[in-house]
């Protein structure tokens, strides 16, 4: 069980890294829009444009 004395602090370090990364992502505006990404995945162009698109 002594391995826990190493693993738990290691886990906390990783956690700190994850929180730092998330804070950076929030501050750089990646989470400003919480609505569009949810629907964006549903809308993809599964319809190709015609061979000769009108000018």
């Amino acid at each position: 069980m002594n391995i826990l004395y190493v693993l738990i602090p290691l886990a906390l370090l990783l956690l700190g890294g994850a929180v730092w990364a998330f804070f950076w992502a929030v501050s750089s505006g990646q989470f400003d829009d919480l609505d569009t990404p949810a629907v964006r995945v549903v809308m993809d162009d599964d319809e190709k444009p015609p061979e000769n698109p009108a000018p």
């Binding site: 602090p9 929180v19 505006g29 989470f31 829009d33 964006r40 162009d45």
Partner: protein, 799 residues
């Protein structure tokens, strides 16, 4: 899609089959060549999916502007520096996209832009209607991007790079960070807590137990000091203002449990409660986050307002005329404003004379004459003369800016119902603190070692969270649902009034009617002319006019062409057709009779004539909005009596009332009369909804129990209305009443549940049957039930 409605923009089609587009093998009717071009563009680029994916079309949305703006101006360098931010060989700009209304629009815009050469990225937020686009400077210019948006039927408006982050974005970012710290902290500490509880049952090494307590402490500390900081700040504000909200017992519980746990950790006490602390903070933070999201969801009206101002203005520097970005305007600039352009700033007229449409601010459809030294308001539209103006106030200092700030404030203010809930909560808080003190002293005498734990449980389990959340959660969910129904609620109290309403009073012009004149009858004085011929001539003459009346005469593909057209400001238009000089306008202008008697003739008639005399008269009237009769029928079905109050004269009011089957109508009303009608209805025990759009309606709207203003009406009316209605239809009112009734039902369920829960949990906790972790779960679960019950409002199948 019913016949008679444009396939693309959902406005009524005047003549079916005049313009048609073939989409997916079917012929669809559209209303105008503009919509036809856009629909064909969407089809030919293979994006027909847009029509399948969009929500029900909002009338008027996506219809291209009649006169395409000069997008090339944005290719110039000074425009580029004003609106874009260059970064190496690429540039970024934020563009407000007017006319988009759902996620399918953002898909259409993103996909179309991605096909342009030189676009690096394009992202549209359907919530804020902002497009963030990045492109290669060498391959593409800003003007081309704007033009491709305009080709799709949208109204793009480049925004100046924001100097500071908008307040709601900053608020959301901070809240997200807190939520993450609270949730991750909760998960970690719960994990350690499972180890500790297992140790209690199976026996555990004392060093390991101390170690797990210390790591729990390490993770809990940022949760308490960072994520829970708003609660401490709120409690402190409550103490200072002597109005303790529910933040106070929350803070006491958090602080007590945290300090008690730290003490137990240092002294090797029997138990720590770090798990209760983090769970409590997490659920509270989640609740606050959801409330904030609901508050932000209403449409970004400040930007919507700024779109009524032009992007570019023509400044006069000595002899030179310079087109500059409107954001570069300063006080004292001399500007040239052409007919059809909107006035970019507050100021006064220095040269020329014109008619100005101030409907946006005053709701008054009748244009106002302006001559030298008359004041001009930003956002009004210059109708017929080329004028010069001196700028006095720009941007946020203009009347328009001040009014838009007034209506904006409602979004950040806590509505009265939340304040009321807070006041009730503050009494409950004092009661809880007293009960906790009694419980603590009784147990201190009976069993001193259990006193702290039991007092903590009492504080946590009786937290009036569910009680305090019961009303706001339901109202927030209702606000979201109503905004999906095209109703923006600016005052939450309106929801209660809507649910109880027994009378609906409508204003006539601009509310029941479109506020745009149409020709209702034509009278020919000269037998040698036919009606269709007169209409064609009138239409040809009106092509130069931007006056609202001109839209009544507009026809497609007119074979008559007028030359040498001139606008006589305030009087009418003149032009030459087939060698004959024609005049169209007021009687005195057409008949060249300047006697006072002729001047007094009613203005709802327009005359057509030549030098030889008057030939025809067109009577204009307001057209009743489509679907109004059905809406009134539905309102009657819900037990609401519709009524009509108008400042107009008897004849048009009674005609509209008869057409719509309204038996209760009042004409010739001053605002005071209207207010009096509302008062007497209220005294008779009615709850009154007032629907009106004019500036004169502002005090009337304030006097009603709930007031609704259409978004196309006067800004002042909107500023004093509880609910702003988007779109052309009145139908949202019906769904609004249904949603409000459901909301009040849910509020009652929530309050009943919260009271039953607290009444049941308190004795159990006081008797020592509830450990702190169970109290935290109980408190969170009761709050969660309240929130989930409220969310039923925003779900599918809601009215």
């Amino acid at each position: 899609m019913s016949a008679g409605v444009c396939f693309h923009c959902a406005l009524p089609v005047d003549r079916l089959g005049e313009f048609q587009v073939e989409i997916a093998g079917e012929l669809k009717s559209v209303c105008c060549p503009g919509c036809k071009a856009v629909a064909e563009l969407i089809r030919d680029t293979g994006m027909t999916n847009y029509y399948a994916m969009r929500e029900s079309a909002q009338p008027g949305a996506g219809r291209p502007a009649d006169d395409a703006a000069e997008w090339q101006i944005y290719d110039r360098d000074d425009m580029f520096t004003a609106f874009a931010h260059a970064d190496g060989d690429s540039a970024e700009a934020t563009i407000y996209v007017g006319g988009m209304y759902c996620a399918a629009c953002s898909w259409l815009i993103e996909t179309t832009l991605a096909r342009l050469d030189g676009i690096v990225s394009a992202e549209v937020s359907p919530v804020t209607h902002r497009l963030r686009v990045r492109w290669h400077i060498a391959q593409l210019r800003l003007g081309q991007i704007l033009k491709s948006l305009a080709d799709l039927g949208y109204d793009p408006q480049p925004l100046a790079p924001e100097s500071a982050t908008r307040p709601e974005v900053a608020e959301q970012r901070a809240a997200l960070k807190r939520l993450l710290v609270a949730s991750i902290g909760m998960m970690q500490v719960m994990m350690f807590a499972v180890g500790l509880y297992a140790g209690d049952f199976q026996g555990m090494d004392v060093t390991m137990q101390r170690f797990l307590r210390v790591v729990s402490f390490v993770v809990t500390t940022p949760v308490v000091f960072y994520a829970a900081r708003p609660f401490f700040a709120g409690a402190w504000r409550g103490i200072i203002s002597r109005m303790p909200g529910m933040d106070l017992p929350v803070s006491i519980a958090i602080a007590a449990a945290y300090i008690g746990s730290v003490y137990a950790m240092l002294t090797n006490g029997p138990a720590v409660w770090f798990d209760s602390v983090v769970m409590f903070v997490f659920f509270l933070t989640l609740g606050r986050f959801l409330e904030m999201r609901a508050r932000h969801r209403s449409i970004d009206r400040s930007t919507a307002l700024s779109t009524v101002l032009p992007n570019t203005v023509t400044r006069i520097d000595g002899e030179e005329q310079l087109v500059i970005p409107a954001s570069h305007l300063v006080t004292g600039d001399l500007l040239l404003v052409r007919p059809g352009e909107s006035i970019p700033a507050d100021g006064f007229l220095t040269e020329g004379m014109t008619m100005v449409d101030e409907a946006l601010l005053t709701g008054e459809a009748e244009p106002r004459p302006k001559s030298i030294n008359d004041s001009l308001i930003a956002g009004s539209i210059n109708l017929d003369g080329v004028i010069r103006m001196r700028v006095e106030k720009t941007g946020g200092d203009t009347t328009l800016g001040i009014i838009s700030r007034m209506s904006e404030r409602a979004r950040y203010a806590r509505p009265a119902f939340v304040q009321l809930a807070d006041r009730i909560a503050s009494y409950v808080v004092i009661a809880i603190l007293v009960i906790a003190a009694v419980v603590a002293s009784v147990w201190y005498v009976a069993a001193p070692d259990r006193a702290f734990v039991i007092t903590l449980s009492v504080l946590v389990v009786t937290c009036p969270c569910a009680l305090a959340l019961a009303t706001p959660a339901a109202f927030a969910a209702a606000g979201t649902r109503l905004s999906e129904l095209h109703l923006l609620v600016t005052d939450g109290n309106a929801i209660e009034a809507l649910s109880k309403a027994t009378r609906v009073l409508f204003d006539k012009t601009g509310t029941l009617t479109r506020g745009v004149p149409v020709i209702v009858s034509t009278r020919i004085f000269d037998e040698s002319f036919e009606e269709s011929q007169c209409l064609r001539i009138a239409a040809a003459l009106e092509t130069v006019s931007t006056h609202p009346i001109a839209s009544a005469f507009r026809v497609q593909d007119n074979e008559s062409v007028a030359t040498d057209q001139r606008v006589a400001v305030g009087d009418g238009v003149t032009g030459v057709i087939d060698g004959q000089r024609w005049r169209l306008g007021r009687f005195d202008y057409v008949a060249r009779d300047t006697t006072a008697a002729a001047r007094r003739l009613q203005t709802t008639s327009v005359y057509l004539g030549t030098d030889a005399g008057v030939i025809a008269r067109f009577d204009l009237d307001d057209e009743i909005r489509p679907g109004v009769a059905a809406t009134l029928q539905q309102l009657k079905g819900l037990g609401l009596t519709p009524g009509l109050v108008s400042g107009d004269s008897k004849e048009p009011v009674s005609r509209v009332a008869a057409t719509l089957g309204i038996s209760d109508y009042h004409y010739g009303c001053t605002p005071e009369d209207k207010l009096e009608i509302i008062r007497s209805a209220q005294q008779a025990g009615n709850t009154v909804i007032m629907v009106g759009d004019g500036i004169n309606d502002a005090p009337v709207l304030a006097g009603a129990n709930a007031s609704v203003a259409p978004v196309h009406g006067a800004l002042l009316a909107q500023a004093s209305a509880d609910v702003i209605m988007l779109g052309e239809s009145l139908e949202p009112i019906v769904r609004g009443v249904l949603t409000a009734r459901k909301t009040m039902r849910i509020v009652k369920q929530n309050l009943a549940w919260a009271i039953v829960y607290n009444a049941a949990a308190l004795p159990l906790a006081a008797l020592g049957y509830v450990p702190p972790w169970a109290a935290a779960i109980g408190m969170s679960a009761s709050s969660l039930i309240v929130v989930l019950n409220a969310l039923r409002l925003s779900g599918y199948g809601a009215p």
